[in-house]
């Protein structure tokens, strides 16, 4: 229990734990100390704006309240009771407005702007400035997604502190000093970083604005819908702003255990895929080899029914892992109980073992030792987890990454082996993990048996008895676990894998873009695809049923922590959503599927989630207790990767964060997508006389690609990394030469 101190604010006695910030202390007592630059998530207060001036008894001058903490016996007076403080704040605002343009009617921040609000309440009513104001070119696009207006900047340094101290990308910087300070990007390069969009939300004025939201709406013209981002398995809580039924922007909704109010740029900016020009808004039937004709819903349902009936149960379903649980359940119920088609390609392996070591993501902040096992950078698989890791590292935690590009280098694909070594008695790191009370394991690699591998390690290290220690498995799909649960909840029966496949049902664009699913489609007689985008299905699907996006669905999804969260429909889809036509189709097979998500959830929750109700999830869902599951036995047959012989290099393809059918359809995000590059280790590059930026030929047994070389000093020699969209046909070992 921390020591309590008593202080007086505006003649009111307040008791708080020692060290609480004065702003929070006052807020707790219902007293406002206005701020611009103060933001505890950005690290220690800097006192840049002087908006928070307060009078403190015994101090001759006004003090910046945000830089002070609660001390015993402090007597604080805010503008409400102290004329001196009120005058000080009034003067501060007059100074801030000295060069601030009168842009409110044309400024995107207008109506939700702290500078407007605080000037209205604490500032001068009129200006005494008669001379011309300072002007700059504006707006400056510091990236395709962010516009900077320097005239409006009040130099609070929130944005640069975020870039330097939270995202640690060091790209947004202040230039010059004093009143001449300008916010700019490093070397005037575009701000290309996975978390850049957060500075828009941080900026207390309209200096950093979103280009997508530019002049789109005013705060009194919008609706805000609280939902959850399911572009990746983190499941950040978001607020979706819509105007006239169209999604205009996405803001964070700050779930302190999940995202702490940060979003990645994919989650923030990718929403315009809803209006992609090849969006499927009508059922389609294949005509000729590479064409589609639109058909009516009646025809589409008749045709689907005919095809499914004709299949005689020889049906395989491929799921994406981006469906809501309800949607997956509806599909599963139709196919499994209605047609006895039990064969599915689930998006990924899942295992409940990891639930025994469950922790909220915020626990990473408090950890002292964090071990990340795997070849994929955490930011590519679950971006916001990377911010938690950085926060932990700044707080003094030790973060060890073990992988082909980690702080400890291992051969690619040997994450499971690493786990075995850590569990062994000879490992020093393993010993420290065992001894630590607050240690965290993270699996960031493909495979891992749905978390079973890392859970086995956690079990061996005795994490089950340590509430501060836990393990996370970073899955590849946003809701793979929920979809697997839904599929399992629909039926207990099993069926053989049909051969040959009569019908392949492909649900979602991710599954439809998956090469394995495409290979399966080659063997199927008929392919039914439920997709959002026409081009994804073109040339291989026989019947296309329109899909919807997570922003258009009501339902639930389970994130990587195992937290069940509620999605809400922000925009009405341009087509009937999946559940509504699934329910009609199911009725033709005598299966009862409700067209509404709530009854569907109720039905399946009774089987898999212990009768949980939607109401219990709430706005910010809580994490379920740790499950009591014995840790699984480690998988004995882990195959170590073949070491490279120097000439041939091991190809390590990775799935970049900015990839996928949705991102491809957002013009503003194209600059974030990985360039056609091959990452080489320092040694390999030197041996071949390659330097960064050179064009190189990457060859493997019959296929080749010309890519630009990029040196990655942290990469294990003998390994090359290529984004999978550029590594398409290359094999596991490649030769890299200078042409």
């Amino acid at each position: 229990m921390p020591e309590l101190v008593t202080l007086t604010i505006d003649d009111r006695e307040v008791q708080v734990p020692k060290g609480t910030g004065l702003v929070e202390t006052a807020m707790g007592a219902g007293i406002e100390i206005p701020v611009f630059c103060y933001e505890p998530r950005l690290g220690p207060a800097v006192g840049a704006c002087r908006m928070c001036l307060v009078e403190i008894e015994g101090m001759p001058k006004l003090q910046a309240g945000c830089t002070m903490t609660a001390q015993d016996g402090l007597v604080v007076r805010t503008a409400a009771t102290s004329d001196k403080a009120a005058q000080g704040q009034n003067a501060t605002l007059e100074f801030l407005l000295l060069n601030h343009p009168l842009d409110c009617p044309v400024c995107d921040k207008g109506g939700e702007c702290p500078l407007q609000d605080l000037t209205f309440r604490y500032g001068p009513g009129t200006t005494r400035m008669v001379f011309p104001k300072r002007t700059f070119d504006k707006p400056i696009p510091i990236s395709p997604t962010i516009a900077l207006d320097r005239e409006r900047c009040i130099l609070c340094y929130r944005c640069t502190r975020f870039s330097e101290g939270v995202a640690e990308d060091h790209q947004l910087v202040p230039r010059n000093r004093g009143a001449q300070t300008l916010i700019t990007t490093f070397e005037e390069e575009p701000y290309r970083a996975p978390f850049s969009g957060n500075v828009i939300e941080l900026c207390p004025v309209g200096a950093l604005t979103s280009t997508q939201y530019r002049f789109e709406a005013r705060p009194w013209e919008i609706q805000n819908v609280p939902t959850v981002c399911t572009m990746c398995p983190v499941g950040c809580n978001v607020t979706v702003t819509t105007r006239e039924g169209k999604v205009k922007r996405i803001l964070s909704r700050n779930h302190p255990e999940v995202d702490q109010g940060w979003l990645c740029d994919k989650g923030r900016f990718a929403f315009s895929h809803l209006r992609a020009e090849d969006r499927v808004t009508q059922p389609l039937r294949r005509v000729r080899r590479r064409g589609f004709a639109t058909i009516s819903w009646e025809e589409a349902l008749d045709e689907t029914e005919r095809v499914l009936r004709g299949a005689g149960g020889r049906i395989v379903t491929a799921l994406s892992g981006s469906e809501t649980i309800e949607h997956a359940y509806g599909l599963a119920k139709l196919l499994r109980t209605g047609l006895g088609a039990h064969s599915a390609v689930l998006p990924e392996e899942t295992d409940v073992a990891i639930d025994a070591f469950r922790l909220p993501l915020s626990a990473i902040r408090g950890a002292e030792l964090i071990v990340v096992v795997g070849d994929d950078p955490v930011a590519e698989r679950a971006p916001v987890v990377d911010l938690w890791l950085k926060l932990a590292r700044r707080g003094g935690a030790e973060v060890v990454t073990i992988g082909a590009a980690g702080s400890v280098l291992t051969a690619p694909g040997s994450a499971a082996q690493t786990c075995r070594e850590l569990a062994g008695s000879g490992s020093e790191l393993g010993r420290r993990l065992r001894e630590s009370e607050r240690a965290i394991l993270i699996w960031s690699s493909p495979g891992g048996h749905g978390g079973a591998e890392i859970a086995a390690l956690a079990g061996e290290l005795g994490f089950a008895g340590k509430p501060g220690s836990g393990a996370f498995h970073l899955p590849a799909t946003p809701n793979g676990r929920g979809v697997a649960d839904a599929w399992a909840a629909a039926s207990d029966d099993e069926g053989p894998n049909p051969e040959p496949i009569a019908v392949l049902v492909v649900s979602g664009d991710e599954a439809a873009s998956d090469p394995h699913v495409r290979a399966l489609a080659e063997r199927a007689e008929t392919v039914i695809a439920i997709v959002m985008f026409e081009r994804v299905a073109l040339g291989w699907a026989d019947l296309v049923l329109p899909g919807t996006s997570y922003l258009e669905r009501d339902g639930t999804a389970m994130n990587l922590e195992g937290r069940l969260q509620r999605l809400r429909r922000a925009a009405i889809p341009p087509v009937a959503d999946e559940l509504s036509w699934l329910s009609q189709l199911a009725a033709r097979f005598g299966v009862d599927v409700s067209p509404y998500p709530a009854p569907v959830f109720e039905e399946l929750a009774g089987t898999v989630y212990g009768g949980l109700t939607l109401g219990e999830l709430g706005e910010r869902a809580a994490l379920a207790e740790r499950a009591q599951i014995p840790a699984p036995a480690p998988d004995p047959d882990t195959e170590p990767a073949r070491p490279s012989d120097g000439h041939y290099l091991n190809l390590l393809p990775y799935r970049p964060l900015f990839a996928g059918a949705a991102v491809e359809r957002v013009p503003e995000l194209q600059f974030q997508r990985p360039a056609a590059e091959v990452e080489l280790s320092w040694d390999d590059a030197q041996r071949r006389g390659i330097s960064s930026g050179d064009e190189v030929l990457v060859r493997s047994n019959g296929t080749s690609a010309t890519l630009r070389a990029r040196l990655n000093r942290r990469l294990l020699p003998g390994v090359v990394r290529i984004a999978d969209e550029h590594a398409r046909d290359l094999h596991a070992t490649v030769e890299v030469t200078k042409p």
Binding site: V106, P139, R218
Partner: protein, 172 residues
């Protein structure tokens, strides 16, 4: 309180009194105005059909800020802004109103939009003869609002206009 409904009164007297009032009116000058043949001049500050204005150089004054829409108690203004570009400069500021609509069937002619506008871009004119046969025709677009009203209503010269003495002042 006295209950008057039961007070004794001669019905003939009452009827005669009533007709007496009617009879007296016959000899007075009628005050009926034959609209639409005669159009009585309006007060200069009468609030009627809106008008959007341009600067002298032809640029629209409206910057599409939606403040009028925020002020409107009937929620009948719809503004969709867009960005001015060097090739397509419509207004003086960074943005302009790509769509500006007022639904006249909902407007209560309160004039709050005029008060809210930071650029004096919108004012309420004197035109009130704006009935239509279809409701949709009452949604005025930006082009309609920028144009001169088709029908003009005479407005009294404020110098000559004598404000009538309110009834309650002469009869109390």
């Amino acid at each position: 309180m006295t209950d008057r409904s039961h007070s004794p009164r001669n019905p003939i007297v009452g009827t005669a009194q009533g007709f007496g009032v009617t009879f007296k009116q016959i000899f007075k000058k009628p005050i009926t105005q034959q609209y639409p043949e005669y159009k009585r001049p309006l007060y200069p500050r009468w609030r009627g059909r809106h008008r959007l204005w341009r600067h002298e150089n032809g640029l629209e004054k409206c910057v599409g800020c939606s403040l009028c829409a925020a002020a409107c108690p009937a929620d009948c203004i719809r503004v969709v802004p867009a960005e001015n570009t060097p090739d397509n400069r419509v207004s003086a500021g960074e943005r302009y109103a790509r769509i500006y609509e007022i639904n006249m069937s909902r407007c209560i002619f309160c004039g709050y939009c005029e008060l809210a506008c930071p650029f004096d871009a919108i004012t309420l004119g004197n035109e009130f003869e704006i009935s239509e046969y279809a409701r949709d025709d009452l949604i005025y677009t930006k082009d309609m609002l920028l144009a001169e009203p088709i029908k003009q209503v005479p407005v009294a010269d404020p110098e000559l206009y004598d404000t009538p003495i309110p009834y309650y002042k002469t009869h109390s």
